[in-house]
């Protein structure tokens, strides 16, 4: 399982251009920063209030005033700048973040996203997710293709929405998909899987790109 997540993170890292501003969600998306190609430097935005997020802080060397949005002690890059929550979300909502990478419970062929609430279960809250997906120029969902065999890529989300029509790209262990007005287009298929297998693992029609490629990995 760890390999599959590394595969997803390393492929997602190829989506970035040198100089991009990005916000990476907690968990698998955070790992994307470990796989950036040589020569690609991105500035990470942390929604609790800074640009220039770096790695985890070493034990014993934490600055107690510097956490990421998950509450973990982190370090910051030389170009870092710290600001308050109103500024942080002006950056996010105002379209100043080039891309955000998040996980999802469900995504559908209209680009609708559900990743914050399961009715009947304990609610954690949306935090900054709703603002991020409406504000970032590009929304990439990086996740395992299915949840214990259940479809996560669907014709229509069944869970309450995080936002409507916001997802641009879906990257899973099985392949890379673009969300287009026509539906979800498979652009890359991982060599470990057949077309029939990825179609069976997807809960909506998968349009096969005429120039389908093998999924790139490191």
């Amino acid at each position: 399982m760890a390999d599959l997540k590394a595969r997803i993170a390393s492929r997602t890292a190829k989506e970035f251009n040198d100089g991009d501003v990005a916000n990476l969600g907690i968990g698998l998306p955070t790992k994307v920063a470990n796989y950036l190609p040589e020569g690609v430097h991105i500035t990470l935005q942390s929604e609790n209030g800074f640009t220039g997020l770096s790695g985890s802080a070493e034990s014993g060397k934490e600055n107690v005033d510097v956490i990421n949005s998950g509450g973990a002690y982190v370090t910051y890059a030389p170009e870092a700048n710290f600001f308050d929550s109103a500024m942080s979300f002006s950056i996010i909502r105002g379209g100043h973040v080039d891309a955000t990478v998040l996980g999802a419970m469900e995504v559908d062929e209209h680009g609708n996203l559900a990743n914050w609430i399961v009715p009947g279960k304990m609610v954690a809250g949306m935090g900054g997710a709703m603002d991020l997906v409406v504000g970032a120029k590009k929304v990439i969902i990086a996740m395992l293709h299915t949840q214990k065999g259940n479809h996560k890529i669907l014709k229509e989300c069944t869970l309450p929405y995080t936002a409507l029509g916001v997802v641009d790209k879906i990257i899973t262990e099985m392949g890379v998909m673009d969300v287009t007005p026509e539906g979800i287009v498979l652009k890359e298929l991982h060599p470990d899987y057949t077309l029939d297998e990825i179609k069976a693992a997807t809960g909506c029609e998968l349009i096969i790109s005429p120039d389908l490629k093998p999924m790139e990995e490191e």
Partner: protein
């Protein structure tokens, strides 16, 4: 110049049962612990608390942080926040029926508070359109795009944490402790600042301070860096 310096106990003395209070901090980082401690000691009930989250619960020898202390003491009837998953006391309170929780997207929460403090009737945001956040809210189409009207939020008191503050109340917050500590100071009737470093007026260059002292009613020194 009017004397705004108080002890923590004096500063929170006016907070009564049923008050609405804003508390700065993000998962405890940037929360005014000495002010929260004084409020817990005073022991008021039925508070409505507005904050980014529910602070942190007590854990393995470390005390609760920020709003987590108010929840632990059973002082809160209603919490308005963007994320409450890190403090199980909130889920428990909601299940028991003792705590009401209103969730607001983080960016909308910041803007609702800013609107409250800036004299605005609300803000129009694309965040939450088409989701359950939009329920009961007006939608406006501006130049072809839908926006939700998020109304202003105000409070009776704001508990703010500064890293450095002068005796007039001009202050700044270090690094990631800023979070809600600036907007909240504009949106409350009575603003109380707990500060790590307290300096005399004129001691520092005015550029040291991000926030104007006009918002501060009381200033309390002695805030400490969090001990890991």
């Amino acid at each position: 110049m009017i004397n705004k310096i108080r002890t923590a106990e004096e500063a929170v003395a006016g907070i009564k049962d049923g008050a609405t209070i804003m508390v700065g901090g993000f998962l405890g980082t940037g929360s005014p612990e000495i002010l929260v401690d004084a409020l817990v000691k005073k022991g008021v009930k039925h508070l409505t608390v507005i904050g980014n989250d529910g602070g942190l619960p007590a854990n393995e020898g470390t005390s609760a942080r920020g709003i987590g202390k108010l929840l632990e003491a059973g002082m809160v009837d209603h919490i308005i926040a963007s994320h409450v998953g890190m403090n199980p006391l909130i889920g428990k309170g909601m299940n028991d029926g003792t705590l009401k929780c209103t969730l607001v997207p983080q960016g909308s929460l910041a803007e609702k508070i800013r609107a409250g403090g800036a004299g605005l009737g609300g803000v129009l945001t694309p965040t939450g359109v088409g989701t359950i956040v939009a329920e009961g809210k007006e939608t406006f189409n501006i130049d072809g795009k839908d926006y939700l009207l998020e109304k202003p939020l105000k409070a009776d008191f704001a508990l703010i944490r500064a890293s450095i503050c002068d005796e007039f109340g001009n202050y700044s917050c270090a690094k990631a402790t800023k979070n809600f500590n600036y907007v909240m100071a504009m949106a409350a009737e009575t603003v109380i600042i707990g500060t790590e470093k307290l300096v005399k007026v004129g001691e520092m260059d005015p550029d040291t301070f991000t926030m104007s002292g006009v918002f501060a009613k009381y200033i309390v020194g002695g805030e400490k860096p969090w001990q890991i």
